[in-house]
């Protein structure tokens, strides 16, 4: 069950580090991608079991990445959990085909539950 690989894509270094600590503490292998422009390449290279994806990022936004990901058959089936501080984040996540959504700031217990659920499926 454990040692699954989770890729986190967020432009905010603070969140990346915090999530890295949390996820590693919980026994996951973590890959961080702070630059949304490189996200798709990194996903292809790392082929993670799950992606945590922020929506509002400079250059390329999370929903653009997700749409491109769903069109790429090599990685299209990877479950994606999106998150955002924006109130319409949930609508955006649903419309671009995210498997799950959580709003910032997140409750870590809820986040871990959602991650576990997606990995089980």
């Amino acid at each position: 069950m454990k040692y699954k690989k989770i890729l986190v894509c967020d432009d905010d270094q603070g969140i990346l580090e915090m999530l890295e600590l949390l996820l590693e503490e919980d026994g996951y292998q973590v890959v961080l991608e702070p630059n949304s422009v490189n996200a798709l390449k990194t996903i292809e290279r790392e082929s993670p079991d799950l992606i945590l994806l922020d929506i509002w990022m400079p250059m390329i936004s999370g929903d653009q990445i997700l749409r491109a990901l769903r069109d790429n058959h090599k990685i299209s089936s990877i479950p994606v959990l999106m998150y955002s501080a924006s109130t319409d984040g949930k609508n955006i996540a649903e419309s671009c085909g995210a498997d799950s959504y959580i709003s910032k700031p997140f409750d870590l217990t809820v986040l871990l539950e959602k991650i576990e659920e997606l990995l089980k499926a």
Binding site: D12, G14, I15, E17, M18, L19, L21, L22, E25, W56, A85, S86, T87, D88, N91, K104, P105, F106, D107, L108, T109
Partner: protein, 509 residues
């Protein structure tokens, strides 16, 4: 009378029987007297019945008297001088003289006196023709009085009008709003300086023109036209009508229009006053403020997410043997970080509501379960408080579940905050007609009458509450916005030191 049986032979030149002449004089409705100038004191030798009637004396009291008896004691009249001067020269004269009847009643006598001369030119008689012109004179005097009064009133009115004109024009010219007065055909009668300056037009380009022809037809908007056309017949004013237009000379502007029928003491009913306010800058400022609120709260959420995360990690990784003091510190920090998060969420919500960006989700959900869940989450956070729930709806409701949870949570946390720990809080749910009603009652400090009407205002906080409980005072404002957006109403009832009940209703679709 003399020996001759004809009068003024030069003119009439027809011999006449004296008896006939007297009959003519007796029949006249004009008072006639004849005096004999050759006798001492020029006594009256003849008077006709009309004269008796005018004077109130009978013939026997008249004959032999000088005419002056008619003036009684009123001897200082200037008319007497006119008479004596004319008579002295042997000329006729007409005067209007004050005479008195036998009973002493004043009457105005229009008197024509004509001398009668013999062949040698000596004045032998005077003929006096008399008319009582009192009533004529009275009406004349009355007329004069009325005229004077009218003139005075006109003068007064003119002065008042001029003053109120000056008063009005000083207001009209001072006010920082553009004003147009139009007649019933929407033709501009006047425009104030602010209008001319704002739109950079001259009075000639404006006065006498039709409203819809002004500028490049900037006011020629069908919707506005329809509203304007209703002003005169229905007296329905145009209120806060926004016009966004690329105006000549001044460019793109947002104008706020208000128009009313002009009524001044029942006059000018067919005139329209149009007030135009340039709200371009005001609106832009509002927008910038909302943008700032939105960006600021959104940007603040990102570092807060990291802080919240680390706080939770601290709790999870707390060593078994950590001191209670340390555990307490971590717990308190966590609580206040949550509070900060809550405040930021509210700020974000306010800015969204202000810009009209709050989107209500319309989803069907179990209303009773929603209420129970909201109560349960509050109970979990404050297990020491007793919260009871009575009543149920028993059917689904279509609306924004998460926002309604927010409303109930907000009302509950207020009830907890503002009442003592050992007092109960009651939540009552009922369906009334086609409405859902929810009430949250506490036994707390209550809210005074005059503060009750303000509590739903943005950033309003009850005076003494401010001292004891931190917060921004937007919770109830948000509740109101959410309930209003659902087509419902929210209100509070309260009694100082007894408690408060917050109620809201929602229409079932």
């Amino acid at each position: 009378m003399g020996k001759e049986n004809h009068i003024n032979t030069k003119k009439i030149n027809v011999p006449l029987d004296l008896g006939v002449l007297y009959k003519v004089l007796d029949a006249s409705v004009t008072g006639i007297v004849i005096t004999d100038n050759l006798l001492p004191d020029n006594p009256i030798i003849y008077c006709n019945p009309a004269f008796e009637k005018i004077s109130g004396y009978i013939r026997s009291e008249i004959i032999g008297h000088n005419c002056r008896f008619l003036q009684g004691k009123d001897r200082q009249q200037s008319e007497r001088k006119i008479i004596s001067t004319a008579l002295g020269k042997g000329e006729s004269c007409t005067v209007e003289i004050r005479n008195y009847t036998k009973k002493g009643k004043l009457f105005y006598n229009e008197l024509y006196i004509s001398p009668v001369k013999d062949e040698s030119g000596q004045i032998t008689h005077f003929i006096g023709i008399q008319n009582d012109v009192s009533s004529r004179r009275k009406s004349q005097q009355e007329l004069e009085l009325v005229q004077q009064e009218t003139e005075r009133k006109v003068e007064e009115r003119t002065r008042m009008y001029r003053e109120s004109q000056e008063y009005l024009s000083s207001i009209v010219e001072t006010i920082r709003e553009s004003l147009l007065v139009m007649d019933k055909d929407y033709k501009v009668l006047t425009a104030n300086n602010h209008f001319l300056n704002t739109f950079k037009v001259s009075i000639n380009e404006t006065k006498g023109k039709l409203l819809y022809d002004l500028g490049n037809g900037q006011w020629n908007i069908p919707e506005l036209k329809k509203l304007m056309e209703e002003i005169l017949p229905t007296n329905n004013p145009v209120l806060d009508f926004e016009v966004k237009h690329d105006f000549p000379h001044i460019g793109k502007k947002l104008m706020l229009l208000n128009a009313h029928r002009i009524e001044l003491e029942g006059r000018y009913k067919d005139w329209i006053l149009l007030a135009i306010e340039d709200i371009t800058d005001q609106r832009a400022l509002q927008q910038r403020k909302d943008d700032f609120l939105s960006i600021a709260s959104h940007e603040l959420k990102t570092p807060l997410t990291t802080i919240v995360g680390y706080m939770q990690l601290m709790e999870r990784m707390m060593p078994e043997n950590a001191s209670n003091k340390f555990k307490g510190i971590v717990e308190k920090t966590g609580k206040y970080v949550q509070r900060l998060n809550q405040l930021l969420s509210e700020l974000l919500d306010v800015s969204r509501i202000q810009t009209g960006n709050i989107t209500l989700h319309q989803e069907e959900f179990d209303f009773d379960k929603m209420v129970a869940d909201a109560i349960e989450s509050i109970r979990a956070a404050t297990p020491s408080r007793k919260i009871s729930l009575t009543g149920k709806i028993g059917r689904n409701f279509t609306g924004d579940e998460s926002h309604l949870i927010q409303v109930i949570s907000n009302l509950l946390s207020n009830a907890i905050k503002y009442s003592a720990d050992n007092t109960p809080i009651e939540v009552q749910v009922s369906s009334i007609s086609d409405f859902i009603k929810v009430s949250v009652t506490d036994r707390g400090m209550g809210i005074s009458e005059d503060e009750l009407s303000n509590i739903f205002d943005r950033f309003y906080r009850v005076g003494e509450v401010q001292k004891h409980y931190p917060g921004m005072g937007i919770g109830l404002y948000l509740c109101q916005q959410i309930i209003t957006n659902h087509g419902g109403t929210i209100w509070a009832e309260s009694q100082k030191n007894v408690g408060s009940t917050f109620n809201f209703t929602l229409p079932m679709h």
